[in-house]
Assembly symmetry: C2
Homo-oligomer: 353 residues x 2
């Protein structure tokens, strides 16, 4: 069976068509059996492809005129989607012309269009945005939801855990991912009722779901490498992710100030470059690019608007691995194994409480 194609919205992102195409070409070298559907302005795509004959040979171009801008509100984007590169890339997934879409465009617009066009998977109430965070160990951490749902209930969190575990199996190779819920303390009595309910459901079902549910964690433990998935509502997840990004940048700014404050510091910086390069490598968002929108009938990946070609390549490679490992099908199977009934029953119990 041939692998499904990856649709690339070539027009999204701050860096233009050339970076998207170069990123796709880099990713294709790692996953050379993949075919691509490049969606956007045909003359510009053709021109960018001149430097990448291998990608050209495994791609088809789908010409579109319209582009969703960074300023378009989700409601405007939905109305305009049909003629745009973003809208057509997602439409290709819906029509079965591609298995996944990658875009570096407006996140809110991408989520709105993807949700309306692809619809949520059977058994999933709401899709979630997941990304990989660096840890001090040799594997990344899957974190979700990162902002698709500002408010959630316990049932949503359980579904996010299932989706996150499926992603972690692909990202870390661990068959029984270690899953935790983000909370403001680790004792069972901490946090909100939503979290305590979700913990009870996961505790009861973890064995059926081939995951190890290890209870609560706090936001200062995310980098330690002792878990594979951290689950939270979209508000807290977005806050945590941005706090991590902002602090990393803050520290980098401080270091830069320090290292340029005197000649001595400048010399020290040059000598210790291997040390600061390690830091740069770990903290460079390009190395963790590609937020995955999980829970839809098809995979949609958001590349960071400011990502460089290596960053785009990471996002496309993530997409390729999710397709290779049939993540969507595996989530369906897990949902079936847990049984919609038990989740539903717990919801009723919640409402009664």
């Amino acid at each position: 069976m041939s692998l499904p194609r990856i649709a690339i919205d070539a027009m999204g992102g701050d860096e233009g068509v050339r970076v998207m195409i170069e990123g796709a070409a880099l990713a294709r070298r790692r996953h050379d059996q993949f075919k691509f559907l490049l969606v956007g302005d045909e003359p510009r795509i053709k021109s960018a492809l001149e430097a990448h004959p291998n990608l050209r040979a495994s791609s088809e171009i789908l010409h579109t005129e319209g582009v969703i801008s960074g300023e378009d509100k989700p409601s405007q984007a939905l109305r305009r989607a049909k003629g745009t590169s973003m809208g057509r890339a997602i439409e290709a997934v819906k029509a079965g012309d591609a298995g996944a879409a990658v875009s570096a465009g407006n996140t809110g617009a991408l989520m709105a269009i993807a949700k309306l066009s692809l619809r949520t998977m059977p058994g999933i109430d709401r899709p979630a945005l997941a990304a990989l965070l660096p840890t001090l160990e040799d594997h990344d951490l899957v974190m979700l939801d990162l902002g698709a749902n500002a408010e959630c209930d316990a049932r949503n969190l359980v579904q996010f855990a299932i989706m996150g575990a499926a992603y972690a199996r692909v990202a870390t190779g661990r068959e029984q991912p270690r899953v935790r819920l983000l909370n403001i303390g680790t004792e069972e009595t901490k946090g909100t009722e939503m979290l305590r309910d979700a913990a009870a459901m996961l505790k009861a079902s973890a064995a059926d779901l081939s995951m190890s549910f290890d209870g609560f964690t706090e936001a200062d433990k995310l980098g330690r490498g002792d878990m594979d998935v951290v689950v939270t509502d979209g508000f807290s997840g977005n806050v945590a992710l941005k706090a991590v990004e902002g602090t990393a940048r803050f520290v980098a700014d401080l270091l830069r100030r320090g290292f340029t404050s005197s000649l001595r510091s400048k010399i020290g910086f040059l000598i210790s470059k291997p040390a600061t390069e390690l830091l740069k490598h770990h903290l460079d968002p390009n190395n963790h690019n590609g937020a995955v929108f999980l829970g839809l009938n098809g995979i949609v990946v958001k590349s960071h608007g400011g990502a460089n070609a290596a960053g785009v390549a990471n996002a496309v490679a993530v997409t390729a691995r999710l397709l290779e490992e049939n993540v969507t099908e595996r989530i369906s199977a897990d949902l079936a194994r847990m049984g919609g009934t038990s989740l539903r029953k717990t919801r009723v119990q919640e409402e009664r409480a």
Copy 2:
């Protein structure tokens, strides 16, 4: 009029009596008109005071036998409070024997005891925990709530803004503090209804409250130094604070690994020490020690359990400044100026919606 005393729970904290006493002595040098009530085991306090004759001369000792431990649950702590150093320190504030209490003990216990004993100020529904975060500019940022209230409503957030602004006037000297609400985007339509309601109330009342309400901010912008107060619910605030702390530690660990990975790196580290010292100074939690529990009839300050003497001194100095500037009275005045009625009206509108 003489300044109110500061009650010090000498028994809290991982580092013992000596560190609490040394911290108080350091703080007294900066605020030499202050008197202290040192609460705890008298022989140990007396022994620690031998090295600090100036502090001894301006202190009274209140002997207690019991100690609240780190393992005590809030409910247990409440039952045991009477005979403990923490309980008696707070009791001294209630009885007017002290204007404020400082403890490095169990946070949950401290909040529970303080709330029950001191009660919330008129006009405040719920107290909040506030702390100072470092920024790239030459002033700190007041952030609240950091975990006292896992769930909040819009009215709570408005009250937190009033309390945070009062604190920021003391901490930054700015008479019209720049206040923002933490959200997952800066557009007016972003986030939860609670945040949009709180924003509307603050927009309407900012001029009366001598603050500049600047809308929403995101968690990656906290270190930029373009605001003085960031307001959020206790869940997100705790997540953001811990994500900042965890990332700072993560980066420090990475740097340590890098700098010790080779002889070249080690030499570079020694030469560039002034640069990394700047970082250490900025990120050392001792330099930002002292989380203030605001909104009670009296001031209660939590010093970090692991703080050193300089850290304790910072927490005590924060307490002294809050007393010198009559922060509790200023919060009352702001609440009166805003008018309980307008807040109440908005709540009714909310419930109707």
